[in-house]
């Protein structure tokens, strides 16, 4: 495959500025609308409520009036796995090869027709980013009209999750190819639905391997350390599990950054040694 990207494959990722996020929910709905995510009459049991993008509310745990809260949107982290070689927790356990790593994009795929619903991946995912279809989707009469042909509706018995709007990547790639730009996709050409919708501009999406892209500039991923952010205000969720997520968060608030992982007493603020396996 020809790469017109500084000789490297793409590594699409997302940076979410938690100080800008207002918890408005636009990203969640943009995602559901873009990806034909179904809905049920009662969605208050959050364990079976399918939300590829989910906004969590964090609190610093202090009493009134010292309490502080923060919203944290959680898409699929598109983990690179230990050593960033593409062995993400879910891919490693899938017996059906229904979920796979795109080495050209860094995107973790989900192929519904291959999935037979064993849900190992759900157990393996430390971010609860995967959801199981316990029921067939049912749209009220006539509402199927708004379904998009770009993403196939799922059926009972399969697992689904955020795909970084992969169909938008395919569309951008096709256009680039058609316009004889080979694999050169402009930053603005491929953006996820949540990024596009976010009214606060809190979400940035792009190629983490491309120093020109905004995502790179925001977090300065360290290529020798599996993409760990060099920007001190940036962090990834559960960093020490070495899942190497492609979703980064930024916050000025220390307690928010601390909430991104578990720390033993006295550990916060010190460099925690994690072996990242052998490099490339």
């Amino acid at each position: 495959m020809t790469q017109d990207n500084h000789g490297k494959a793409h590594k699409y990722g997302m940076v979410i500025d938690l100080d800008k996020c207002t918890g408005c929910g636009s990203c969640m709905v943009a995602c559901m609308s873009e990806n034909n995510v179904p809905f049920k009459e009662n969605e208050t049991d959050k364990k079976d409520s399918i939300t590829w993008m989910k906004v969590f509310k964090l609190t610093n745990g202090k009493p009134f009036p010292d309490i502080d809260t923060c919203y944290l949107p959680r898409p699929c982290m598109h983990c690179g796995g230990k050593g960033d070689h593409g062995h993400s927790p879910c891919i490693s356990v899938c017996p059906a090869t229904a979920t796979d790593y795109g080495y050209d994009t860094g995107i973790v795929s989900q192929i519904y027709t291959r999935c037979f619903g064993c849900r190992y991946c759900m157990g393996a995912c430390p971010y609860h980013a995967r959801y199981f279809n316990w029921w067939d989707p049912k749209w009220p009469d006539g509402m199927e009209e708004y379904l998009s042909p770009d993403v196939s509706p799922r059926m009972r018995g399969v697992v689904e999750k955020c795909s970084f709007c992969y169909h938008r990547y395919q569309e951008a790639r096709d256009r680039a190819y058609h316009e004889e730009r080979r694999d050169h996709i402009e930053e603005g050409e491929y953006q996820t639905a949540c990024t596009q919708a976010c009214p606060a501009g809190a979400i940035t999406f792009g190629d983490l391997n491309n120093p020109e892209h905004e995502v790179y500039k925001l977090v300065k991923p360290d290529p020798h350390n599996c993409g760990r952010p060099r920007e001190p205000k940036a962090f990834r969720l559960l960093e020490r599990l070495q899942t190497n997520p492609k979703v980064y968060y930024i916050s000025e608030r220390e307690w928010v950054r601390k909430a991104g992982d578990n720390y033993r007493k006295g550990e916060w603020g010190k460099e925690i040694k994690v072996s990242h396996g052998k490099g490339h």
Partner: protein, 717 residues
């Protein structure tokens, strides 16, 4: 052949190895997964050419530009419209969900007439004739003024047509729902003597002092506020939130000032007293425009010194002084008021106290400040014909005092000899849900002999109507829209139909024209247009060509110059609005809070929006009540308990949600739940409508309903 243990194991292992080495297992699992997924009922969306159509969303007063993605002409997705002056590409969750409103099968699909407890579907002609006959009978018996009409707002051709219809019939009883915009306009007219609306240049202010406004919870024009909030860091601007609860806005703010509920005006006046006594105010401005400033200065110095106000507000005097210093020091300070989304009128004195800060800072009609924006009537209506009946009826006073819609229903409920309103027309509004003491309003509506509802949905009000005229939803129709709430920017826009009507509906404006035409005589001749579109084109006059070509007109910010600041107002204020109920029986204060993800206006939330709502707001069919753990201990309830909440107005079953972010002694419930069940199983019948627990409290200074809470008690079920 004898099968011994050795050969049995050998054969078994061999078979296992053979199966493992062959692709049979994988082939079978693959086939199995494909076979179990080939359900004929899984939809296969049709493919086709992708196009985009631009229009403007009118689900809330923000009026964002939206872009509808279509596939082979079929609307599939709504996105923000880049470059549009209000939202520049951003879009809120309700706007994105608009297609769920469009394709909703629980919409009113054809005109309906009530027959006892059930509905009968009729033709448009029959429905219009029925409404016209009723109007005619009332006019003939000299009761033209017994016709009343309620719309959601006072802008544009749809409400213009309703108002015109009422005038032609002969009634002054035209009402709009009370919002903070009404209070701001009233205040501007009292303080500055101007006929202008309020504008807040939040995006350019470097110090926003917000008194409980849900600045990022849907206040004003939501998306433009999100954008302004995001740029705060880069602009080095501060947001200070005065609120008794850690709302999303308070959590996003640089400083959170948890003043006790109902003491916001005290706090604002205390800040004024510091500014005046420490010489931190714009003397030039006050000297030039201020009237009876000395009286005001004396009032705040004597009654609102920080040390005195500390007791009422619970905020330290030193903190009040530091806010005053910061506010005065800022280059472009701005004080804003209007609780939550600004859906209710609020206390005029509170607005005045907050606005006194803007006056003292002198930051009026300047970049980053408070603006008084000229209120011109954008539409040119042809002259109206009123016959004798109309003239006589129109001369009579309104049934609801001060044109307050709450007062209208109070008048109906308190009348002993039949309802003073004999025909009520409701257009794009849901008073039976949105007004305080919603149950009381429903009782009143039941007493009104004839209720016509022009609505797309079977909502709480439509359910009690006698005739429902089903309206297009906004994606099916043209209309003129005026962005004005919250921002300094005034954008006039034209929404365009992006889908053909799905059901047997009509444009709400067209429905009004049809009724007028059926009435003949002077009423019919006051509506000379064949269709609504013809009316729109003619009354928008000079704006039409730009609107139809460009889609919108951005008039920017045109200020009405301020030449007076009448501080004498403060001496005449009768007082703050305190919640109804006595402390002894009702030890807690229940407040209604707004949440961006729950629509709380005319429209109920879409299935997508409801899905995003946390289970700490709605769980199964129970609304959750937010309570501080300390208060919960005192009351004897714990997290997840089912409890009863009682107020002087109503009682409801709720679930307990412990939240450290709410002030002890205060409990909160989220607006936007407890809608009429009907055929909408996604939002209908879920949770409690907090407006059924809170009664209206008339503000002695504005005459409008200014309730923001009520005394309450909570007990475990």
């Amino acid at each position: 052949m004898k099968i011994d243990r050795r050969s049995f194991l050998g054969l078994g292992l061999g078979a296992a190895a053979g199966v493992a080495a062959s692709p049979v297992t994988w082939k079978l699992t693959d086939d199995l997964s494909i076979w179990t997924q080939n359900w004929p009922w899984t939809p296969v969306p049709r493919d086709g050419e992708v196009t985009y159509d631009d229009t403007v969303c009118s689900l809330c007063p923000g009026n964002c530009g939206i872009s509808v993605r279509k596939i082979a002409g079929r609307a599939v997705k709504i996105e923000g419209r880049s470059g549009y002056p209000v939202n520049d590409g951003g879009v809120c969750l309700h706007g994105i969900s608009a297609l769920q409103y469009l394709y909703d099968p629980s919409r009113v699909q054809a005109p309906m007439v009530r027959k006892g407890d059930s509905w009968k579907t009729v033709t448009w002609e029959e429905a219009i004739t029925l409404v016209a006959e009723k109007t005619k009978t009332l006019r003939e018996s000299g009761k033209a003024d017994a016709v009343a009409c309620i719309t959601d707002n006072n802008r544009g051709t749809i409400s213009g047509l309703c108002k015109r219809f009422l005038m032609a019939v002969g009634s002054q009883n035209f009402y709009t729902m009370d919002t903070m915009d009404k209070s701001w306009e009233m205040l501007i007219s009292k303080i500055h003597g101007l006929n202008a609306s309020a504008g807040f240049d939040i995006a350019n202010s470097d110090y926003v002092l917000s008194f409980g406004t849900g600045f990022i919870e849907g206040w004003g024009s939501p998306v433009s506020n999100f954008i302004a909030n995001s740029s705060r860091k880069e602009r080095h601007a501060k947001l200070v939130q005065v609120e008794y609860r850690l709302s999303s806005t308070a959590a996003a703010a640089d400083q959170w000032i948890p003043a006790k509920p109902g003491t916001e005006a005290d706090l604002a006046l205390a800040i004024c007293s510091v500014m005046i006594n420490d010489n931190l105010y714009d003397k030039g401005c006050v000297k030039k425009f201020g009237k009876e400033f000395d009286v005001f200065a004396k009032l705040v110095t004597e009654k609102y010194a920080p040390e005195l106000v500390t007791r009422t507000t619970g905020i330290d005097a030193s903190k009040i002084r530091s806010i005053a210093a910061d506010f005065a020091k800022a280059k472009a300070p701005l004080a804003i008021a209007g609780r939550g989304k600004g859906d209710s009128a609020g206390s005029l004195m509170e607005f005045a106290a907050v606005h006194a800060l803007n006056c003292l800072s002198g930051n009026i009609n300047k970049k980053g400040g408070f603006w008084t924006i000229a209120k011109d009537e954008p539409l040119t209506w042809p002259s109206l014909e009123m016959d004798d009946v109309a003239t006589k009826g129109y001369a009579k006073a309104t049934i609801g005092e001060n044109s307050s819609v709450s007062k209208l229903f109070e008048a109906v409920n308190s009348s002993e000899n039949g309802s003073p309103v004999e025909m009520l027309m409701v257009c794009n509004a849901n008073p039976c849900y949105n007004l305080h003491n919603a149950k009381g309003v429903q009782e009143a509506v039941k007493k009104i002999p004839f209720v016509v509802n022009i609505s797309s949905y079977m909502d709480d009000t439509a359910n009690l109507a006698d005739v429902i005229l089903p309206a297009h939803m906004f994606l099916e129709m043209s209309q003129d829209l005026y962005t004005s709430s919250g921002t300094t920017q005034r954008v006039t826009s034209l929404s365009k139909p992006i889908a053909s009507p799905i059901f047997d509906t009509k444009h709400p404006g067209e429905a009004v024209i049809m009724i007028a035409k059926a009435l003949e005589g002077s009423i019919a001749s006051s509506f000379p247009w064949e269709t609504y579109d013809e009316c729109l084109e003619s009354v928008t006059g000079e704006m039409w060509s730009t609107l139809s070509e460009e889609g919108f007109i951005d008039s920017g910010s045109q200020a009405s110059e301020v030449s007076a600041m009448d501080f004498s107002l403060f001496a005449s204020f009768k007082g703050f609005t305190m919640p109804e109920g006595d402390k002894k029986n009702y030890p807690l204060t229940l407040v209604q809070v707004d949440h961006m993800r729950l629509a709380s206006g005319t429209f109920a939330s879409s299935p997508f929006a409801v899905k995003t709502v946390s289970d700490s707001i709605l769980k199964d069919s129970d609304s959750l009540v937010e309570i501080n753990p300390e208060t919960a201990d005192q009351v004897g309830v714990s997290d997840g308990d089912i409890a009863f909440i009682e107020t002087p107005v109503g009682k409801a079953r709720v679930k307990v949600n412990l939240f450290d972010g709410i002030m002890p002694g205060v409990i909160a419930m989220t607006e936007g739940l407890g809608h009429f069940a009907g055929d909408n199983h996604y939002i209908g019948g879920k949770g409690v409508n907090v407006n059924e627990l809170i009664g209206p409290v008339t503000d002695p200074d504005s005459g409008l309903d200014a309730a923001w809470g009520i005394r309450a008690r909570l007990s475990r079920a």
